[in-house]
């Protein structure tokens, strides 16, 4: 452990007051195209988590694998699903070799059921579906396959599914993120990562609005907002909101409603200083102002050189350094997410 940032006093002990979110808020939207899939009554899966963040190399796989392990210890059966279509390595982060069957088999239609791809991870209550490895060119899958994939995810025999997303803002990646009940964005406290994280938030934000059935009438405007060189000069969410309000005040209420339902979580990885930790609060504040969303800053992870050792040894961090600060941060984040987003899908049946 090195380069440790002095933690703000409020972070010690129990969940700090700044890390609060509204427990009454439903963790996922009722008005989303994924609803039917999510409310499937026979599904055992209670929650899906997605870890994204735009830029490659910010630690998505590491965070995903660590959260999956911590979640399996805390809450039940977990399946870690590698949805990084272009460069999967969740299996490596979990310390297993590439299994014979991977998501490729599902995408190319060799199997219809994700269950056949589930392999044990060697960790109790944690199984793995490894990412597409042999179909090199697939970074985007078509809507029909995507839909089938979501259905199949909900039919897994797990309580939780933790999805590791790829870099970039491809529509598939955005849809995976929006499909999840808890979408977590990982960023590093550096401009390149922040820039990409904003691009990721912006893309998924507009796509979330675009998907919303209640905003069908606003769709042409939303599509304009997605292309900044549009005739109406819609360059920001505020511009979009203004245009929608001009069209219909009632529609603007629905827009606001949908905007407030978009509540991604944020984790700052590799924090070395207090300023790095504060980046998370700044990003939260800026997102509130720019997008009108409540980004939930759920925690930060210390920069820790030990991580590199575990990656090189292909061993999961949580198993190698069970007593490290990094691991306790990870566990605290899981506890917080379970507490703040307590929704159990089965209770809505």
């Amino acid at each position: 452990m090195q380069g440790k940032a002095s933690p703000p006093s409020s972070l010690a002990g129990d969940l700090p007051p700044i890390f609060t979110s509204d427990p009454n808020l439903e963790p996922f939207s009722k008005d989303s195209p994924f609803d039917q899939l999510k409310f499937s009554p026979q599904s055992q899966v209670r929650q899906t988590w997605a870890i994204g963040g735009g830029k490659g190399g910010v630690g998505k796989s590491l965070v995903a694998s660590s959260l999956a392990i911590a979640l399996s210890r805390a809450a039940g059966k977990v399946t870690a699903l590698d949805l990084d279509l272009g460069g999967s390595n969740l299996h490596t982060a979990l310390g297993t070799d590439l299994p014979k069957h991977t998501l490729s088999d599902f995408i190319t239609g060799r199997t219809d059921d994700l269950k056949t791809l589930v392999v044990p991870s060697g960790i109790p209550d944690l199984t793995l579906i490894s990412g597409a490895q042999d179909c090199v060119n697939v970074t985007q899958i078509d809507a029909a396959v995507e839909r089938k994939l979501f259905q199949s995810i909900m039919n897994l025999n797990s309580d939780y599914v933790v999805m590791d997303l790829g870099a970039g803002t491809g529509f598939s990646t955005l849809d995976f993120f929006l499909f999840s009940d808890i979408g977590i964005i990982v960023l590093l406290p550096e401009p390149t990562s922040i820039e990409n994280a904003y691009r990721f938030i912006k893309s998924s934000y507009y796509r979330h609005l675009w998907h919303s059935p209640s905003l069908i009438e606003a769709r042409p405007l939303i599509e304009m907002a997605m292309d900044t060189r549009n005739p109406k000069g819609i360059k920001s969410p505020s511009d979009l909101y203004r245009e929608v309000t001009a069209k219909s005040p009632e529609l603007s209420l629905r827009l606001k409603h949908q905007i407030e339902r978009f509540r991604p979580k944020l984790i700052v990885n590799q924090a070395r200083t207090q300023a790095d930790i504060d980046i998370g609060f700044s990003v939260k504040s800026v997102c509130k102002k720019y997008f009108g969303i409540d980004l939930d800053y759920v925690g930060y992870l210390d920069y820790d050189s030990a991580v590199w050792q575990t990656v090189r040894r292909k061993r999961p961090l949580l198993l190698e350094f069970p007593n490290s600060r990094l691991v306790s941060s990870m566990e605290r984040i899981v506890q917080y997410l379970l507490k703040s987003c307590p929704h159990q899908r089965s209770s809505l049946k």
């Binding site: 009454n24 922040i194 820039e195 904003y198 920001s236 720019y290 009108g292």
Partner: protein, 345 residues
């Protein structure tokens, strides 16, 4: 249809001091200060978190907004006054079960019942002023800087104002996390205050340019049809000043107006078919204050900073150029009641 949200012409309501500082209404002074420092740090130059999203001018606007909010909320007196004036419809947060009862009727933008914004502006389209509508996220901060100085000019005995001239104002740096420091104000706040107070004299002498910044009725915000109540009020309250003119006549008259008086505001309100109750509902300004403003009964009104806020809000409700109306009205009030407006200098 039930919406739990407040309706606002802006995506984020940066006219609400609590929202600017991102704090709850019941936040205590150290929470306010903590949040202030945090938000302020966010908008410092070169903060990587602004990268690609917030422009330099938006950043500066936001900083000014933050200072303004903190000046009021950090002072127990001003905060109390602000709270009493801008009280929410209910003491509960909008996500409380109690807010449902308030959110049922929602027909026109004017009678949305659970608005908590203090400064609700009509959609940008209804201003044909110099504001560039593309710079939306700054909300209507353009209207603000002039209002800040007057905030304190009427409070000669007030600690905030007093502090500006006291040597203690050069106290600890804003980064010190000293908890007892309700009173030790960060240096730059005091500096800004001074700056604003200097600004005030020039602002006030500026000629009113209302003729060039008139409103045009926007098709997106249809004026509500005059109700039975408001036309009754037209005859009783307008006191024969005018019969209810048609909209276009009214707008012509507004376009020529440079001196805004209470009776004139009333005339426009009635002309637009808006009842006092509707203004109250939309702005949360009490009926008594609205009446006092329209009757220019200054003694019944609170400190100038709040009158200014009221007038500006009312002007917006009436789709008038809020900046000019407020200027003009405040000038008039100042002349009528110099004591109340006496500057601290």
């Amino acid at each position: 249809m039930i919406f739990e949200e407040k309706i606002s012409s802006q995506l984020t309501d940066l006219t609400d001091y609590y929202e600017v500082l991102d704090i709850k209404r019941h936040a205590n002074s150290s929470e306010i200060r903590e949040s202030y420092l945090r938000i302020k740090a966010t908008y410092q130059k070169d903060n990587a978190a602004l990268y690609t999203l917030i422009s330099p001018s938006e950043r500066e606007d936001m900083l000014r907004k933050i200072e303004e909010a903190y000046q009021v909320l950090s002072s127990p007196d001003l905060k109390r006054e602000y709270d009493s004036v801008h009280a929410k419809a209910s003491p509960f947060d909008s996500d409380s079960p109690f807010s449902d009862a308030l959110s049922d009727s929602l027909d026109s933008p004017l009678d949305s019942p659970n608005i908590i914004s203090i400064d609700r502006a009509p959609p940008m389209e209804s201003f044909s002023g110099e504001e560039n509508p593309l710079i939306a996220p700054t909300t209507d901060f353009e209207h603000r800087p002039a209002s800040t100085p007057s905030l304190f000019s009427g409070h000669s005995t007030h600690p905030v104002a007093a502090r500006t001239s006291s040597p203690q104002a050069q106290g600890p740096s804003p980064t010190s996390s000293n908890e007892k420091s309700q009173m030790d104000h960060p240096t730059n706040v005091a500096m800004n205050l001074g700056h604003f107070e200097k600004g005030i004299s020039t602002t006030y002498q500026e000629p009113v340019r209302s003729s060039s910044r008139t409103t045009s009725p926007s098709s997106s915000t249809p004026a509500p049809t005059p109700s039975a109540t408001s036309s009754t009020m037209a005859s009783t309250l307008a006191g024969g000043a005018a019969s209810t003119p048609t909209l276009s006549e009214l707008d012509k008259e507004i376009a020529q107006q440079t001196h805004w008086t209470g009776p004139l505001l009333r005339k426009v309100r009635i002309g637009r078919g808006i009842s006092i109750e509707e203004v109250t509902q939309a702005t949360k300004i009490t009926k008594a204050y609205i009446l006092a403003i329209e009757e220019e009964n200054y003694t019944k009104l609170p400190a100038p900073v709040f009158i200014r806020g009221f007038v500006s809000q009312m002007a917006r409700q009436l789709r008038l150029p809020a900046n000019d109306v407020t200027h003009s009205y405040m000038e008039r009030a100042k002349q009528a009641l110099p004591d109340k407006f006496k500057s601290s200098k």
